[in-house]
């Protein structure tokens, strides 16, 4: 396992370049590069990190990169990871800042990004299909999944509130279940 700091910076920059259409695609990208290709972490850990990132302040894609970098190489690793995520967009904006607002008005660019929005949706949906079996595999987790899904779709709740509530409910459920088994 080559997890030198430069390697971490390199991988996260590669991921950063591909973060188009917002930070949502970070989960599929980490899954491909870190879980499948490099085996730096398991799928379960990735979902854990994603959950943690959501209840902390800050940009989710950065938070999850910090977690993944920490897992690979401690604090230095997480610094490299967040640098890697930021660098491509940073360079891109600095180089293009003065022409970007003109570029945005081209129809061909607008259309390409209209299409990318649909790609982002598909990436999210196929990723859920993949991580499903690791996360939703019992009556309790099924119930929780659909409760959260519908409450987030229908009620104006913040993701952080939902994450904290499900943590509390699971804590109580777990201790009751253990009490019964004992």
């Amino acid at each position: 396992m080559n997890n030198s700091l430069f390697e971490i910076l390199k991988i996260f920059s590669i991921i950063g370049i591909q973060l188009l259409g917002g930070g949502y695609v970070i989960v599929p990208l980490l899954k491909k590069y870190l879980v499948e290709e490099r085996k730096w972490m398991s799928e379960e850990e990735l979902v854990n990190f994603y959950a943690m990132s959501q209840c902390l302040p800050g940009i989710i894609a950065c938070n999850i990169a910090i977690c993944a970098g920490y897992k690979a190489r401690g604090i230095l690793g997480s610094i490299m990871a967040v640098l890697g995520i930021i660098l491509p967009s940073f360079i891109c904006i600095i180089l293009l800042a003065n022409v970007l607002s003109a570029i945005v008005s081209y129809n061909i660019i607008k259309n390409a990004f209209w299409g990318i929005r649909i790609s982002v949706i598909i990436l999210i949906l196929v990723t859920i299909k993949d991580i499903w079996s690791k996360s939703v595999n019992s009556k309790y987790t099924y119930l929780l999944f659909f409760t959260v899904l519908f409450s987030f779709l229908l009620l104006p709740l913040s993701p952080a509130v939902i994450i904290i509530l499900s943590a509390l409910i699971s804590l109580i459920y777990g201790s009751i279940k253990r009490g019964k088994n004992a």
């Binding site: 259409g21 854990n48 994603y50 800050g58 940009i59 938070n63 990004f113 990318i116 699971s170 804590l171």
Partner: protein
């Protein structure tokens, strides 16, 4: 100039703390910045949002970089970008250290047993919300047969069928979407 740097750091430090949940959460803060300091115009702010959407990287980071750059050049952009990740970075490190320390404990395991399906469901609902916004034409809020964006629906179906069957490569899906978008919008 130093005063602008300090103000930039302070304002983006605040955004880093309070913008919970995704890039667009920082939008209201940027509007506030605009009205408070007049570093940039509303028109520039609208451009910033569009630019953040087409440059790679999380939208929150892009907006911080672009705002910082427009306000105080390259140094400004370094300051605003560093500021927005400061607090989240420290908190995430503390959190993950605690997690590593207590992960063998039963209570932590129970919590994550529930957090995994919950965050899976959050991701799913983000996917569904985006799908709804994309398929329903923007001037209406209800999804009926009349106002479905058929070109979006066609592209969605054309992409999801092959990509749910073959091994997924995120970059390939993004490129296919961009090309599909150009083709469909040009010819339909």
């Amino acid at each position: 100039m130093l005063k602008i740097y300090l103000l930039l750091y302070y304002e983006f430090f605040k955004i880093g703390i309070f913008a919970l949940g995704g890039g667009y959460a920082s939008l209201p803060f940027l509007y506030y910045l605009q009205s408070k300091y007049n570093w940039f115009s509303i028109n520039e702010l609208t451009n910033m949002i569009a630019v953040s959407n087409i440059t790679p990287g999380p939208i929150g980071i892009n907006m911080a970089t672009y705002t910082g750059y427009k306000t105080a050049g390259i140094i400004g952009s370094i300051i605003s970008t560093t500021a927005i990740v400061t607090v989240p970075f420290i908190l995430t490190i503390i959190f993950i250290k605690l997690f590593n320390k207590y992960q063998s404990c039963n209570a932590v395991n129970n919590i994550f047993l529930g957090l995994r399906p919950a965050s899976c469901a959050l991701l799913a609902s983000i996917g569904l919300k985006l799908l709804y916004q994309t398929l329903a034409l923007s001037d209406t809020n209800t999804l009926t047969a009349v106002n479905i964006d058929y070109s979006a629906l066609i592209l969605f179906i054309c992409l999801i069928i092959p990509f749910s069957l073959i091994k997924k490569n995120p970059l390939l899906i993004i490129i296919a979407g961009a090309l599909g978008g150009i083709l469909i919008k040009t010819f339909i």
